[in-house]
Each structure stands twice: as C-alpha cells, then as structure tokens.
C-alpha cells in the first residue's frame, strides 16, 4: 500500500519551472531515495512533501489525505535537515524532546521517550550535554532521534550524510538502514551520491531537471537504466555506437562498433520500445582483460592498448583503446595474485559479456 502519492506536481519559482509533472507512489515502510545532480529538484520535492514549499499545481496525498493547505507543523512527516538544525542553545535531551512539548505528557513520560530515542540512535547518557559540543556524527544522531521521537508516518532526510567524512558516512549508511528496518517508518532520502542511494534504498527515483527519469530498485536501476543519462549517472558505463540489424528469425541483433555482432535476449530489451537508440551500454565489469592461461573466450574478443589505468587496491580500472575506435572503454578487473597489473601502453586482449549489454529505446 502506498503511503505517499505524488500526483502531477508542478512547482514554479517565478519563471523557473523547478518540478515538471512529478508522479510517484511511495510504499509504506519503504526506504525511498530521490537521486539526482544538484539543481534537479530533489530537495524541492522533499520540501513539498514536508510542507515547506507549496505546489503550483498537483497534489500530495499522504496516508490517504490530501495535504493541500496543511502546514508543515500539522503534517505526519518529520525532517532531518542537511545542516541538522540542532538548536544550539538547548541540551541534547531538550533537542530530542522538543517535539513532545505539545504532546501533553508528564515529565516522566517525556523523559522516558527521550531516553528511549537516544538509546535507539546510540547516544545513551548524552542527554545532559550541550548540543553545540557534539561532533558531526553525533549531531546527525540527535537530529534523527529528534525527528523519530514523534513517530512520523514518513521521515524526510535531506542529504543527511553529505557533511560527514567518508568513514563516518559509510558507518551511518548501514546504521540508517538498520534503524529504518527497526522502526518500520517510510524514509525518503535525498542524495546526489549514487553509491549511497544504491546501498541504502529499496527503490530509487532518478531525477533530472525537475522530472523523474526512472524509478526502480537498485539492481534494476544499475542493470537496466532507461536511457543513456541514467546509465551515465549511476555508476560507470561505456557507450558504444551500435547498429540494429533486423534478423530473419525475429531475434534482435546489434553490430557494435569495435566489439562485433551480438544477439540480445528479449529479457534485456527495453520494454515497449518500438525502435532502439544507435548506442549500447556496457558496464566496466562486463568487459575483462584476458591474461595468459585464461580460457580462450571464443568469438567475443577484441584487441587494444592500455591507454591509462587507476589502481584502487582491490580493483584496477583500465582505459583500453580498442583497435579501430577513437575513445577508450573502461574495464574493471579484480586484482588477484595471478593477475599482474598491466602497464600503460601494454597490448591486451579483451572479452565481453553479451548478456550484460544494455539497449536503450529511441
């Protein structure tokens, strides 16, 4: 059952068309991400859901109720702000319990709830501390506890991890995910970090220029981006010119520049497309270098020179210029003891996985 239904939402700032017809259903208990580059409207959409921005047209249905005219303080949503917005003049406990002021609870009940909320985010015993004396990660946790204490139907998170350093961010990603499963509340996360979205979300909406380009689960999104732009934004993708060949047997074939001919399985074709774009996508891990002693790959083989490489420890990313091509392709290889890292300029053979080709509709 969907808890949020966004129906043809438009938002104008003067002449600027920030949201251009957003339609989306978000399920109860779902971890949903709004992913896109800066300026794509993802934060605006989050603020529309939270009631901090009006819509120019369209409707936000929350738990079956139209939210038109309902201000932020009356909506069953709570928000974790990008800056955390911790009240600096209050203690940690006062911050966390701020939303309970209107709840008509006894002092003891309030204290119990605050203690419980602090425990939930791993800050037991921090209640009496001054909020301004906390570290970034701790502020983040206080903001979470403060928003979750009111048991909202939907928790809105506006790039909550962007201010943390890498290690802390990775830790918080797992923790947020665990917390979401524990409380069972719908989380809507705004992020520009595709990796973060893939790690944390049940489903992701990719947005460009005020429109949703694709809504899908992480694996589906990575495996079958609907267009070149989404494919480019999520992870790394090689784009190769390709010509569609009509086969007599009804199978779809492509002649791929630099790689050769390939048959595309019906399951890998874009649904409902009448024609195909003259380009196919291939992830770096769908291409491999062939080392001495590897089994001969058969017909799917090309040759080229290593133009550049980036060594990441566990992986090496090669830029290989295949014979007859003008742009190099990116190939990722796991670093094993039996696979020496190639030098720049080395000659190499490359094989590729036909089943991993991504075909786009035109």
């Amino acid at each position: 059952m969907s808890i949020i239904s966004l129906q043809d939402i438009h938002k104008y700032y003067g002449d600027y068309h920030a949201l251009r017809g957003i339609n989306c259903e978000i399920g109860e208990g779902e971890f949903f991400s709004l992913l896109g580059p800066s300026g794509c409207g993802k934060t605006t959409l989050l603020r529309v859901i939270g009631g901090f921005e009006d819509v120019s047209s369209g409707a936000v249905i929350l738990g079956g109720q139209n939210m038109a005219g309902v201000p932020a303080n009356k909506r069953p949503t709570n928000m974790v702000f990008q800056s955390y917005a911790i009240f600096p003049h209050l203690s940690v406990a006062q911050n966390v319990g701020y939303g309970l002021r209107k709840a008509r609870l006894s002092k003891a009940e309030q204290d119990a709830k605050v203690t419980e909320a602090l425990e939930m985010v791993g800050l037991s015993g921090y209640g009496a501390r001054a909020a301004h004396a906390l570290s970034g990660g701790q502020r983040q946790r206080v903001a979470l506890a403060r928003a979750l204490i009111l048991k909202p139907k939907v928790l809105l998170l506006d790039e909550p991890l962007s201010a943390l350093d890498k290690k802390m961010r990775e830790q918080m990603q797992t923790e947020l995910r665990r917390l979401q499963r524990q409380v069972g509340i719908t989380f809507i996360l705004v992020t520009h970090d595709q990796e973060e979205a893939l790690i944390m979300s049940d489903r992701i909406a990719v947005m460009f220029e005020g429109e949703i380009a694709q809504v899908a689960a992480p694996q589906e999104l990575y495996r079958r981006p609907v267009n070149r732009r989404v494919g480019e934004f999520i992870g790394v993708m090689n784009f190769l010119d390709a010509r569609h060949i009509e086969g007599a047997d009804g199978k779809v074939r492509f002649d791929i520049h630099g790689l050769g001919k390939a048959v595309i399985e019906p399951a890998n074709l874009p649904q409902g497309a009448r024609a195909y774009a003259p380009v196919v996508g291939l992830r770096p891990e769908a291409l491999s270098l062939i080392y001495e002693g590897d089994a001969p790959p058969g017909k799917r083989m090309a040759e080229g020179d290593v133009a550049d490489l980036s060594y990441y420890g566990d992986m090496t990313y090669y830029e290989v210029l295949l014979d007859g091509m003008t742009d190099p392709v990116t190939i990722s290889m796991k670093n094993l003891a039996s696979r020496p890292v190639l030098e720049r300029g080395a000659r190499t053979r490359v094989t590729w996985d036909e089943g991993s080709l991504v075909v786009f509709g035109a």
């Binding site: 702000f81 990008q82 009240f87 003049h89 002021r101 004396a133 009111l150």
Partner: protein, 269 residues
C-alpha cells in the same frame, strides 16, 4: 627600530584619546571653581552640590526615560527590519533597506531642523519628550538594524523550519528558537541605542519642550563658570555608569556566545 616608533605612536595615541577623560574626575574632586592647574586640593563638595540641583535631576530622569523608550522602539523596529531583510525577498528590497539606513549618514542638524518643521508647522504638535523620542528613534533604528542584521544573518534558516517541523507555529518557532539565539544582538543593539540617545544633543536641542534632556541642560549650565565643577562631577558619574553598563553587557554577550558554542568574534571590550 620600527617597533620603537610604533610603540611611541601607540602610547601617544592612547594619551591623546584618554587624557581629557582622565581630566574629568581630576577636576571633579578639585577644590576650586576654576578649571586650571595646579590642583587646589581634594573635595567632594561638587558631588554634594549635584545632589541638590533639582533641575538636573529632572533632566537626568527625562534623558533616561527618553533613552529607554528610544532603545525599546529602535530594537523592536530593528528586529522587524533585520528579519525582513535577511529572511525574505520582496520587491524594491534594496531601495527600501537603503532608505531606512540613510539616517545613519544624514547630518543630524538637517534631520533636527526638518523634524522641527514637520512637528511644529505641518503636524502642529507641541514639542515634548515624545518628539525627542521620535527623532532619536529615527537615528537609532539604523544602528539597531546594522547590529541585528548580522545576528540574524548568522542563523541557519533550517533552525526555524526544524522547530515548525516539530509542531510549532511560525510565531512559536520565532519566539522559542530565533529570539533566544539573537538575544546577544538584541542586548547589544539596545545598549548602543540607549547610549546614542542619552548623549545626543542636536536633535534633543531642537525638539525638546519645556523639560530639557541632560545634554541640553549641561549645555545651558556651561554659561555659568561656577557651575562647571559640578558638571565635571556629573560627567565623572556618567563615565563610571557607562563603564559599568558596558562591562555588564559584555559579560552577558560572552556568556551567550559561550552557551551556544559560537566563536567569539569581537564585541565591545
């Protein structure tokens, strides 16, 4: 050596700045009616004399009432303007804000004369403490706005939204979150406005009614040489009072900064 010259310069500068201020208490306790060296001896007679001048007490009370009212009005107007200018955008914002800030640089004599014309000729009102308050509020409000704007500017907008998100109305969020956080700015602007109004002379001179403010009264007394030592004693008391007020204000300001964990970036002292 450069350091030596700079040190001499710094000392000369401080002497020049504070010598007249030090002369004030010296002559206030000097046993003689003529303001000249050598000093005659120690006396507290002038302070005793001060206590007996009823016109002076009236002028002081006038000034304090005018300064308190002016400071209150200026701070309230300043809060409104500073919040509007930092939080909202509206048509003709820049020219409007410019127009509000102009009295900061207008010659006071021009403000005073034009106000006098407006009050007496156009509005046909009698001159009173209220006309002085109006004039002082006009020149104090820009100071309040300047101080409060920086206080409001430093605030994260999300703080207010967070409070609203947690169930408060706009007004409650402003009262419970924004006001406490800009309180140091409010105290600072109140004190600045209070001191500006307290020693302002030109506008008060033009707009005051039958009951003069303290600066106007003092100016009147300077015509009588025998009253000068008493004026010196009065000045000494005011000096001590302003030092105390300033110290108290600074104490609260520093405590406020420390409480929210901010970095101390200046202040009065």
């Amino acid at each position: 050596m450069t350091g030596g010259w700079l040190r001499i310069y710094a000392i000369t500068y401080l002497v020049f700045l504070y010598l007249p201020v030090i002369l004030l208490p010296m002559f206030a306790f000097n046993d003689g009616t003529v303001i000249a060296f050598p000093l005659q001896g120690f006396t507290t007679e002038w302070f005793v004399q001060l206590a007996g001048i009823e016109a002076l007490h009236g002028a002081l009370l006038n000034s304090v009432i005018i300064a308190l009212t002016t400071a209150s009005l200026s701070v309230v107007l300043g809060i409104c303007a500073a919040r509007a200018s930092t939080r909202f955008t509206f048509p003709f914002k820049a020219p409007i804000m410019g127009a509000i800030m102009v009295p900061l640089v207008l010659p006071e004599i021009i403000v005073a004369v034009s106000l006098l014309v407006v009050v007496v000729q156009v509005l046909n009102l009698p001159l009173s403490a209220w006309t002085v308050i109006a004039g002082h509020t006009l020149i104090c409000t820009p100071f309040a706005i300047a101080i409060l704007s920086s206080a409001f500017q430093g605030l994260d907008q999300s703080l207010e939204e967070a409070a609203i998100d947690l169930g408060e109305t706009r007004w409650e969020a402003f009262k419970n979150i924004i006001l406490p956080l800009v309180a140091p700015g409010i105290v600072a602007s109140f004190l600045i406005c209070f001191t500006i109004s307290l020693d302002e002379f030109i506008i008060a001179f033009f707009l005051t009614g039958a009951e003069p403010t303290l600066p106007v009264y003092i100016w009147g007394q300077l015509r009588f040489p025998t009253k000068i030592p008493a004026v010196m004693a009065l000045g000494t008391l005011m000096l001590v009072a302003s030092l105390i007020i300033l110290s108290v204000a600074e104490f609260y300001r520093r405590r406020g900064v420390a409480r929210v964990g901010g970095k101390d970036s200046g202040g009065f002292l």
